[in-house]
Amino acid sequence: MADNSDMRTWIIARAGAWRGIVQSVAELRRRQRATVEEALSAVEAYRGLARDLATSRRLAPDSRTTAGLESLYAQLHTLISHRPRGGAAALLALLRVDIPAAAHELRSRIAGMALLMAASAVAGWWIITTFPALITLFAGEEMIEHVEHGRLWTEGIVNITPSSILSVRILANNIVVSVLAFCAGIFLGLGTFYLVALNGLMLGGVFAFVHQHGLAAALFKFIIAHGPVELSVICVAGAAGVALGESIVRPALGTRRDSFQACAHRVAPLLLLCAALLVGCGFIEGFVSPDPRYPLSSRITIGSCYWVVMWALLSGRLFANRATP
């Protein structure tokens, strides 16, 4: 440690300023907002504290004074590095810029995922048409029993569970599946491939099974209102997951970790949109799809309109700034 009397004098001289900083840090932490004067004074205090910390590190590196200053410096650094919340402007930027940019970047992967899902659905159809007994791999016993008795498992579902409850359960399940399709990309993209292919297989297999019992048209009528967006969202989430896996396999930035992080931040806005769209799907699936009062034409209209809304959101056209040339 440096000359004790100098250090002591220095501590006594600076302690008043440090006390002030401790108080203002506590005060600023409690509040959501700060005035310009408060922010400027915090920055000024930060600079002063940096000087004190440098001095203390040099004179007494292992002292409690240095430890205290390190801690206070870190707290102030965190506080002044805080970005203000964007509010409505940030939401608009998300819808106008971030989501369309991510969707544009992922367009080929989205097409790839759609292709994978379609191919898996064909494979599922072929498997069940060729080996009908294998339907137990794709459907539960109750579901099989319903279809074998000539009824869809969705019939009368609203008499057992209220539509609102059904919607919440469905949307929660769909959101988890989509998030999982995205996050499973961490396993070098293989987890995502597995999930999307499995969904396609199940879809094709179940359709083949209901077709064998003459219920394909009824199932089509059930899913046409919510299905197009629901399946598209799984493809979009899958594409985001594949991009995540690719960022690890072929890092675009310095390290795999940096590349993974940058990719997650780039494509995450899409997940937000997917979740919002799935909320809509959940309500359609809970209120419209199981309700026999809706004719096929209404269901097709709802399904196609909702799909167009999804496309407009992904392309950024729904919230495009008309004033921009």
Binding site: I11, W18, R19, S63, A74, R83, H265, P269
Partner: protein, 254 residues
């Protein structure tokens, strides 16, 4: 320990030193949060069932008011609180942890949401095994969610900042050298948590070094309370001449 410290460049040119939280501190914070959310969800279910007289059946219309809020509390506790409290949940606060981004600042909403999305993977196959293994093997002891979000969980010693003003009082009131002063202060702070036998040993060593003319044999006969009083008295007076530079190091290692 050095491996658990990271240095962040700052605009002032003075690097920021952050101490990364290990799996133990993380686990401690998580367990506290888990208990809180479990209790809150349970409390809501009890309220819904016994006070509001709502049905807890998943097929009843009441489930929207009874089961749904409980599920929201339990499953969305982390994302909601982290976004609202800028990364600080009650568990992290109690464990003395702070969530920061890789430049030491407060993480943004997007980063916090991404961090929470990946809980699905970190919690696989059960009890956060993937996240825990990741914490053991990654450089900055991060789970996959932190890697994706670019966040770090660091130790935030709020008390250390507050102790600065205390040091001023000590520096002004005592003639002891600063390193000895800090040492005496630390010993007194930890007095209650130390084993009586060890604290007596430490106190005797300190007094022998810092009190001029003290007799080691006499010191060893003093009671625990007397030793505490004698050590505390060092902060009010003390003699700089009696202290040798090595005193602090030896006492610390003892």
């Amino acid at each position: 320990m050095a491996d658990d410290q990271i240095f962040v460049h700052s605009a002032t040119g003075v690097d920021l030193t952050l101490t990364v939280a290990g799996p133990g501190s993380r686990g401690y914070a998580f367990v506290i949060d888990w208990h809180i959310r479990l209790l809150l969800a349970g409390a809501w279910l009890l309220l819904a069932s016994f006070v509001l007289k709502l049905s807890l059946s998943a097929r009843s219309q009441d489930a929207l008011l009874s089961l749904l809020p409980a599920a929201v509390i339990y499953f969305l506790y982390h994302p909601i609180l982290e976004v609202a409290l800028r990364g600080r949940t009650p568990g992290k606060r109690m464990a003395g942890l702070v969530l920061v981004n890789r430049s030491g600042g407060t993480p943004g909403t997007a980063a916090l949401l991404i961090r929470n999305l990946f809980r699905l993977i970190d919690s696989l196959p059960a009890f956060y095994v993937v996240g825990l293994v990741s914490c053991f093997f990654t450089a900055n002891r991060v789970r996959i969610g932190d890697m994706a979000a670019g966040t770090l969980l660091v130790l935030g010693d709020a008390a250390a900042g507050k102790s600065l003003s205390h040091l001023e009082t000590l520096a002004a009131g005592s003639r002891l050298p600063l390193d000895a002063l800090e040492l005496v202060d630390q010993v007194l702070e930890r007095w209650a948590s130390l084993e009586p036998r060890h604290r007596s040993q430490i106190a005797c060593m300190l007094l022998a070094r810092l009190e001029p003319g003290s007799d080691a044999a006499h010191l060893s006969t003093l009671s625990d309370m007397e030793l505490h009083a004698r050590v505390a008295a060092l902060l009010d007076g003390g003699d700089a001449q009696a202290h040798e530079p090595a005193a602090g190091d030896e006492a610390t290692s003892g």
